[in-house]
Symmetry: C2
Amino acid sequence: MVEVSEHTASLTTNPPKKRKKDMEAKLILPSSSLFLFFILLLVLFTLSTIPFAPPSNKAELLDCSIYSPWCTSKNRIQSKNHPPTRHHHSSSDVVPHHPLDPLTIQELNRVRDIIKSHALFNNSPYALHSVVVEEPDKPVVLAWTKGDPLPRRKASVVARVNGVSHVLSVDLANGEVTRGQEVDQLSGYPTMTMEDMTSSTWAPLADADFNRTITQRGVDLADLACLPISTGWFGKKEDNRRLIKVQCYSMKDTANFYMRPIEGLTVVLDMDTKEVLEISDRGSNIPIPKAANTDYRYSVQNAHQLKLVNPISIEQPEGASFTIQDEHLVKWANWEFHLKPDPRAGVIISSAKVQDPETGKFRNVMYKGFTSELFVPYMDPTDAWYFKTYMDAGEYGFGLQAMPLDPLNDCPRNAYYMDGVFAAADGTPYVRSNMVCVFESYAGDIGWRHSESPITGMGIREVRPKVTLVVRMAASVANYDYIVDWEFQMDGLIRVKVGLSGILMVKGTSYINMNQVNKQESLYGTLLSENVIGVIHDHYVTFHLDMDVDGIDNSFVKVNLQKEHPSPEESPRRSYLKAVRNVAKTEKDAQVKLKLYDPSEFHVVNPSKLTRVGNPVGYKVVPGGTAASLLDLNDPPQTRGAFTNNQIWVSPYNKSEQWAGGLFTYQSHGEDTLAQWSDRDRPIENKDIVVWYTLGFHHIPCQEDFPIMPTVSSSFDIKPVNFFESNPILRIPPNLEKDLPICKAAASA
Amino acid sequence: MVEVSEHTASLTTNPPKKRKKDMEAKLILPSSSLFLFFILLLVLFTLSTIPFAPPSNKAELLDCSIYSPWCTSKNRIQSKNHPPTRHHHSSSDVVPHHPLDPLTIQELNRVRDIIKSHALFNNSPYALHSVVVEEPDKPVVLAWTKGDPLPRRKASVVARVNGVSHVLSVDLANGEVTRGQEVDQLSGYPTMTMEDMTSSTWAPLADADFNRTITQRGVDLADLACLPISTGWFGKKEDNRRLIKVQCYSMKDTANFYMRPIEGLTVVLDMDTKEVLEISDRGSNIPIPKAANTDYRYSVQNAHQLKLVNPISIEQPEGASFTIQDEHLVKWANWEFHLKPDPRAGVIISSAKVQDPETGKFRNVMYKGFTSELFVPYMDPTDAWYFKTYMDAGEYGFGLQAMPLDPLNDCPRNAYYMDGVFAAADGTPYVRSNMVCVFESYAGDIGWRHSESPITGMGIREVRPKVTLVVRMAASVANYDYIVDWEFQMDGLIRVKVGLSGILMVKGTSYINMNQVNKQESLYGTLLSENVIGVIHDHYVTFHLDMDVDGIDNSFVKVNLQKEHPSPEESPRRSYLKAVRNVAKTEKDAQVKLKLYDPSEFHVVNPSKLTRVGNPVGYKVVPGGTAASLLDLNDPPQTRGAFTNNQIWVSPYNKSEQWAGGLFTYQSHGEDTLAQWSDRDRPIENKDIVVWYTLGFHHIPCQEDFPIMPTVSSSFDIKPVNFFESNPILRIPPNLEKDLPICKAAASA
């Protein structure tokens, strides 16, 4: 552990020791209200005795048992509580088969070796913040077909060397390292490494003041659990060095330490040196909430278990209807797409194509779709809370936080699981097992139906069941859990759904009943239990949707419903709605704030492909789960999260514009967001365009969210609109009894 | 058939024969554009040879085989295509067990006999437009418990006698008939009877001009299918008599006659006399669209079947987890509620209670929830379309149009089916079998979850599956199919979902390609196929939610998120959101237009019941599927559909305010809508209150909707908010492999 600590410490070029006292002086302000929220990692003192040595040079894969506790051996996880799933797991040491395939273990090792021996890194301590495949240029990928040799394999590496961030392109064939995207002008830092987060949570313990404060609050150091919380950027204080704030909890008598905040205590660290820059404690008068009734584990519910329903299961005795070719190419019903885990986005869907039922051909729908950024501002302006304005993908790595899924519960029995293979800070690959699942879902819903009234004598009752394919991941960004589903329907629709569960970031308070509170608003939230406040916050999840509807060049069309007033001679009606099509010429035409009383449909059409009767083929983005960020545009969090200023944006394709909050989100000033790109107002008509959609949630917590939240979901759809000549599922069969399985209870087996 | 025709004809008091020519003269206007939409019933000439005699006085139940084609013998339907479902069907001749139970067959027969011998009906022709149980006053129902004698059973009857509408209360015990709700001031007419609709579609055939017109349009009378379309109300023309418009289609070479409109031809009938008042034909130059590719029946797809997935099924080998006590009381997991079919609302959920996991007690949530009205305005101002502004519950009977569900496809294999028992126009009961289904659903979703990062050493991965109970009906209001789901979740949430499927009401056109069209807007819709336009329209579905959160007296609280601006001394933040609670004092305080940029939560709280920490217990209405009606408030359809002027309303409980569009919706002037009631601005604080929520859809058709529409769904939630002390599903167990079934393919059995 000491070695790692030194290792990261040496990244710092300007040890800011002198500043520490200045900052403390400034920050000793009157205090009373205290708060909390978000990220990873808790330190058991016991853990610090585990040897934590960097891997030997010969290691081909992190040894999960001794080195990296966040790396999960799939066998370990699987054998612990569950039998192996029925499906074949992706073997993590395969060769790549597709230009978009993620780096294999061998390739990651090769990158590590190239980097290590490269001049830039020679004799300098460094950390790799991201190592992923560098996707070939779009025309190369589009031109490639199975059987062709793979385009040259390259890795895109984000590294910090001597306090400087680099984006590098590593050629796996010849070992050449070249500069990638220009990053000198970017204010922010790369996504934290897992090592950054882990070591930050331990660092305060080296500080005697900190330890004394904890003890004064009545918490045994052995019960301490701390989280590394991104600082955001609010001005000069956050300039010129990587900072992290650490807040802590008592894990005494509960696994749910999140419910036991040591309120108001914030430690500011230099993330590179791990030096404690400041300790702010405004919560000495706030009791730590009780542990009672906070634990959510099934094993501690004992006699109080609540068995409400008989077993229920989705069954497919003839097997799943999808195949996964070459580890990443998913084929199901009339769909095929490339699927891969990603350390920053979580899951990336690429080259999604749907089969035309008339021609049998697969037609392009979406070149690339993924979670580009999240923005989670808390609504409490006080010392220990104001900075909690998380950007989970760019700051923490949405994929890095995606833990192994729990078979039978995170996904149904008929699921297939896919592993992620990522790189540690020194480049050593590790496996995140069961990170993504794929399954067919049937909820008893109806694909289409029609009954004729019996009076026609037709006796028609035609109904088709609705079966879908779900791709799921669940990221546990410390307390909160985000469930992201990409759901494919046979009618060509893609539903993108985000579920929120997990545990609230709560704030300690001296109140134990609302009758003690004069103004509810001053709580900044809801009293959830004695001494526990759930603080109001928003969630925004912004998706990058590189639509290629039947080809690369598309246009964005707002189909606006406008009221017309016919004259009395024309009609007894005084009003009706017309659909007026407006093609967006430039980016600003496509900055959309949704309006209930000025509604539009949002089509992405291929203007050069018409249906038989002459409509341009298209897909539409169907908004859902809308909540808009109401923060002031010049509030620093909103400047950094400016990609939420509109619900929909459209930009021309630009390989470097992947991350809505900017490539280097951490402590960024907001100069590299989707909003900045879009304000360049580039032409987007009949171009390769990218649509950005933001799902939003306002969350005013309620007692039902304590001590763990029932899932809340929202979704939006990407839906064919004159893409097909007619209903593409007209000819699917109904369910027939003779095809359905014969089941018996397991107990009776 | 002749007898029935005379029977309904004799209801008319003022045969308006003289007016016919006047109206025709006025309506001969220049014509060119033509259109179409909505309701039931098609006439095969062959059908007219079937004897259609009123039932003999001795009939206790309509004989479905000879009398009433809209009545469905459950045995007939079930034996036709499907084996009997596994669940016990409600027997239709039981005695009532609960004060809210619908009238039994015996009770309906008793009502028929009482009515027939009553002075009001003596020697007068009459029609019963509605015969349902008269629910006892709310305090009586609330005071009743199982084992108590039932409150006096009464029927609420809507009848028309000699052209006058009556609401009557029929005491089943003593045969007393008393006046019910005062209706003299109401402008509209009762919901049409099935006989009204059926006979209207045949009536034009008695008119030689009509028959000549059909023949001139090249349609053989034997291929004719006609629909009865409510006229709405636009002024004097629709005053003082019941009118219906009839439009027709060719069913040659397709079961999907809806795709073959005889465009522009509208027949106006006196619904009582069945006299043809007017024939308007503006479509003589419009070809009838081809039959090719319109049929949607599986049997005609032949070699083109598209089998995309293996069989998939929801399985519960230990059986369903719900019981239905005494035919109507559903008990599942932590829920219990009363469920009954209704001819106007479709499905009524009553006395919904959820069990508190801490006390074990069942706590009231909702006294009554149902679809109160639908409003479906089309956006075409021309002669054959402007009046299409359907109110499906009040005009057609949303429950009357709910056809038998198709086992295995409308509902999954594990469903239970419930029959409806309704009365024909003469009072004779009939059975609508399989009208409602109840099933448990599991889509592979997650009830709650949390993973701890492995670094904690805790190895926590706690996930609970989400299983729900769905109550479903599907109304086929002619071409369109509405699927209504009430979905109960164990976490206390009720999701109300409406799915739209079925067949578009389309408009004939001479265009076969968009390159012939100058201005797309002038189509009033989308060219879906050669000569076929899908006309733009809206759907609004308004729900009556009589919330009784933990007791009768509740308040409606808007929890508004308001932006605050802290000073620079207070915080580095420039803005944040506070939740400000506003209790609605009167109805106008609770007229809500949703605003994305001025968001609120909408709580129904019990101000006299507090949680342990002092929050008022509540449920919130969580909007979803929002679309607002944009029509002018003084446009006659919007005046009649004024209940859609807001998305949320709250009214004090009033037994007579059940139907948002008014008790007598048909041809009403809009003087008896929710908007009128609400404008009285009555006090609603700490009262028995009813919340009204409207789901909305704008529908711009697309080619995928041809020839039958994939289901589009929207939903809203009724969700506990500080109702429980904590997460009510904390203690439910995860799925375990040992509990799940063992299944094999049926074919291998």
